[in-house]
């Protein structure tokens, strides 16, 4: 094993979280910083010719190469886990920028009470309001503490939208159920695809409060506080699963990489596959650096004074388990936190609606659309509901492409091939759209991650095993959402509507969302969490863990702004306090 000269900080993972930390520390200090990214390098010019549905949307060119590593899945701890041999329910990216390159750039914030879910729910609805087998926890931080960092994230991304709660004043046309915002969105809402406009009018007619979806595909040109200039979205429709051809979508390669590349104190190594975090135990336990395999196959030790794990939920958790850092979660005793609190999201197409008129749905962006959050609020009357928490409804004009959307037909049509099928599929091709629902996923004792005893990655290290299934609360939530969405679709003028058939067992073949959280959760005490709300490891105080792996449970909203807000807060704490007095921040 070759040992490289020590650096001040090593960052594992070159996606949103890792590169934002690299930018903050790199631009505001003289620390020597190395970012290790196992995928390929990427740059904006790669995306000038990527508008090819087959290679990018269907063959998933930007996603992790599962021939090298995947995860195994079982629904409960009595089953034998099997590897997910192809992508399905979630799509983690690979390469510089990570999933932040191919995302849809939907950027709502979490609701204030998400951060105090256990105490607020108990306070409001009693100790029995949460399901018996839940593992819900408070984060150890409040929305108001995080809000200034959310505002910084909006400015970084240039987020387009309309505030619904500006410094406590409720504003019609924005999301009046959102947490208090200190500032208006940096750019106005995006243009609306036809289907989204229909949805807005229908939702309003039913008494809901529709608002333009917060979008990091920006509506007009914008220069962010770092001096990065971007043009507005052209609604080309090649968005999620693609890199942005015009750079209007916020991506690490256009917002963070240009700054990092100018800094002599930051270097980025691609093809670097980190296998272990090395650490000293004893009275002053500390991480020493990381061991990785470089692009040529050589084993390298990179010593560092600060170690950041920013390699997405699965790999953050797996690296702690492989490295023997912290106590792995044990389902039978409830002890140990590493791997606990695995959550996904109740992300479903509640209603697929068929219209008489054409929708021109090839035009759009991954985040141009309308949402309503009347069932995603902390003051919802729950007396008639048989589940807790909620979610938002959405009609987005993603930019629909033919391979992935041809052949979606009303349930009344039974043919799946041949002339009758073709005739119906051609006729319905541009007259079909879905109303989506995105709901919270509670943490449960039985949903967790550990190392698989059978299957290995390309280097022989055990795969991560996920034990995950839906519980009644999610099934009932999805069941509740379906008739609401069907009612809206009817008010939009749909002549036929396919309702969502319901959540059964966790289905790894149906795309859900790439919002998987937990495994290295934050909390207010080391007893049940891995890191503090400063994302600092409770035992190894020079180890920080960034990303959704630190979320105790998932919200209905998309996670990126929350991930980035925490990175900003941690970067500030490191620069303002830790560098002067290394040690616990919390």
């Amino acid at each position: 094993m070759k040992t490289l000269p020590a650096v001040d900080a090593v960052i594992v993972g070159g996606g949103w979280a890792g590169l934002l930390m690299a930018k903050e520390l790199g631009a505001r200090t003289s620390l020597s910083i190395v970012v290790l990214e196992r995928g390929p390098s990427r740059q904006l010019s790669d995306y000038s010719t990527d508008m090819d549905e087959l290679d990018y949307y269907i063959r998933l060119r930007m996603m992790q190469d599962l021939s090298q590593e995947t995860v195994t899945l079982r629904h409960d701890a009595t089953q034998r886990a099997l590897p997910l041999r192809q992508h399905g329910a979630f799509l983690p990216g690979a390469g510089v920028g990570g999933s932040g390159e191919h995302w849809n750039a939907q950027v709502p914030r979490f609701l204030p009470d998400c951060f105090e879910l256990l105490s607020k729910t108990t306070e409001k609805y009693g100790a029995n309001a949460l399901p018996e087998d839940h593992a819900v926890r408070d984060w150890g931080i409040t929305y108001n503490e995080l809000e200034p960092y959310y505002a910084r994230v909006d400015k970084l991304l240039g987020t387009s939208g309309k505030a619904g709660n500006l410094r406590g004043k409720l504003i019609e046309g924005g999301n009046i159920f959102e947490g208090r915002r200190s500032e208006e969105y940096p750019t106005p809402p995006t243009k609306m695809p036809y289907f989204s406009a229909l949805f807005r009018d229908a939702a309003k007619s039913l008494g809901y409060h529709p608002y333009p979806a917060p979008s990091a595909n920006i509506s007009q040109s914008y220069i962010n506080p770092d001096g990065i200039s971007r043009g507005g979205c052209t609604y080309c429709g090649f968005c999620g699963r693609f890199g942005c051809m015009v750079g209007a979508k916020a991506q690490p390669t256009n917002l963070l990489l240009p700054i990092i590349q100018k800094r002599k104190n930051v270097s980025l190594r691609t093809g670097a596959w980190v296998r272990r975090i090395l650490f000293d135990s004893g009275p002053q336990p500390a991480a020493r650096g990381v061991k990785y395999i470089d692009a040529t196959g050589e084993e390298i030790f990179q010593p560092a004074s600060l170690v950041f794990l920013a390699s997405w939920t699965f790999n953050n958790t797996r690296l702690l388990l492989l490295s023997g850092i912290g106590e792995p979660y044990d389902l039978s005793t409830g002890r140990g936190a590493v791997g606990s609190n695995l959550t996904h999201q109740v992300s479903v197409s509640s209603a697929t609606a068929f219209f008489d008129q054409p929708l021109n749905r090839f035009m759009g962006s991954g985040s141009a659309g309308i949402l309503f959050s009347d069932f995603d609020r902390d003051d919802l009357d729950r007396s008639s509901l048989n589940f807790i928490r909620g979610g938002y409804f959405a009609a987005r004009g993603y930019g629909f492409q033919p391979i992935s959307n041809f052949g979606v037909l009303p349930n009344s049509i039974k043919a799946t091939w041949g002339s009758d099928w073709k005739k119906a599929a051609v006729s319905y091709y541009d007259r079909t759209a879905t109303i989506g629902f995105s709901g919270e996923h509670l943490a449960y004792k039985a949903n967790f991650m550990d190392l698989d005893p059978v299957y290995n990655d390309k280097l022989g290290d055990p795969l991560l095993r996920i034990t995950l299934d839906w519980h009644d609360n999610e099934r009932k939530m999805a069941e509740f959402a379906t008739p609401k969405a069907v009612e809206v679709a009817r008010a939009m003028g749909a002549h036929e509507i396919n309702p969502f058939p319901g959540l059964r067992s966790y289905d790894a073949t149906r795309y859900n969302s790439t919002h998987i959280q937990g495994g290295t959760i934050m909390g207010d005490s080391p007893a049940h969490s891995v890191v503090s709300p400063y994302l600092q490891h409770w035992q190894l105080s020079n180890l920080f863990i960034l990303g959704g792996s630190t979320f105790p449970q998932n919200a209905s909203a998309n996670p990126t702004p929350t991930i980035l807000a925490f990175v900003y807060r941690t970067a500030d704490a490191i620069i303002d306090r830790y560098l002067r007095h290394p040690g616990p921040l919390a």
């Binding site: 087959l54 021939s67 034998r80 695809p193 090839f362 391979i403 059978v454 067992s505 790894a508 073949t509």
Partner: protein
């Protein structure tokens, strides 16, 4: 056993698929061989070099794809789009040999929710599937439909149907959707740099710009994944 592309290239007699030029408004543009060539109605036949299939395989796949997505009153189908050529190239490339799938054993049977757990690659699935369709291209359409109904629940048919849709609507650089007949059929314009002026101006009315391929739109020589190793 799958033959590697090296073996294919060096040891196999080269196969061609001979297609007759069906008429579509009198003139057809075929971009099947990635050299877009304008063929007038007088050209009766065009020979396409195959990368994976034998000529008989290709005729069977072309016939089956054509029953799945027929050429009929609704418009052109798999035959005009060159779906068999598309599938031939996909199977010859990384997709055909499962370059990006986790293929370590043990392989176990599992409920549908765990996704495909088998060890067979798309190439092997097609080879096995083709064994059950010998002589298929010589049957009458009704007999062909009957033969396909018998295999409807197989993995082979699932792939064939999925690959047929891909070959109908992919960018023409992949060998399918020749002359963008698939895109014209459903009103998809292909990659457009901007819909900024149109997105909120055609509410309820069809906006149908003339389709352009990725190479036409960008002017770049884009390399499709099936040409990569």
């Amino acid at each position: 056993m799958p033959r590697s592309s090296v073996t294919l290239r060096h040891m196999r007699r080269r196969h061609f698929l001979t297609l007759s030029t069906a008429t579509l408004g009198g003139v057809l543009v075929y971009s099947l061989d990635r050299k877009a060539s304008l063929l007038s109605a007088q050209h009766k036949q065009v020979r396409i070099p195959l990368r994976f299939f034998t000529e008989t395989d290709a005729l069977i796949i072309a016939a089956a794809a054509s029953r799945i997505f027929p050429s009929d009153d609704t418009g052109p189908g798999a035959r005009e789009a060159g779906v068999a050529i598309f599938i031939d190239r996909q199977l010859a490339g990384p997709y055909g040999r499962d370059r990006f799938r986790y293929t370590q054993p043990p392989f176990e049977d599992a409920p549908r929710e765990f996704g495909y757990q088998g060890s067979a690659t798309p190439r092997q699935i097609y080879r096995d599937g083709l064994k059950g369709l010998q002589g298929f291209h010589l049957l009458a359409p009704a007999a062909q439909d009957e033969a396909l109904h018998k295999i409807e629940s197989t993995l082979f048919f699932f792939l064939l149907r999925q690959n047929t849709i891909e070959g109908m609507f992919c960018d023409p650089m992949h060998g399918g959707n020749a002359d963008m007949v698939g895109w014209q059929l459903i009103g998809f314009p292909g990659p457009r740099m901007s819909n900024f002026d149109e997105i909120d101006k055609y509410y309820g009315k069809a906006f149908r710009p003339r389709p352009m391929s990725l190479r036409q739109t960008t002017g770049a020589k884009v390399r499709p994944s099936e040409d990569e190793s």
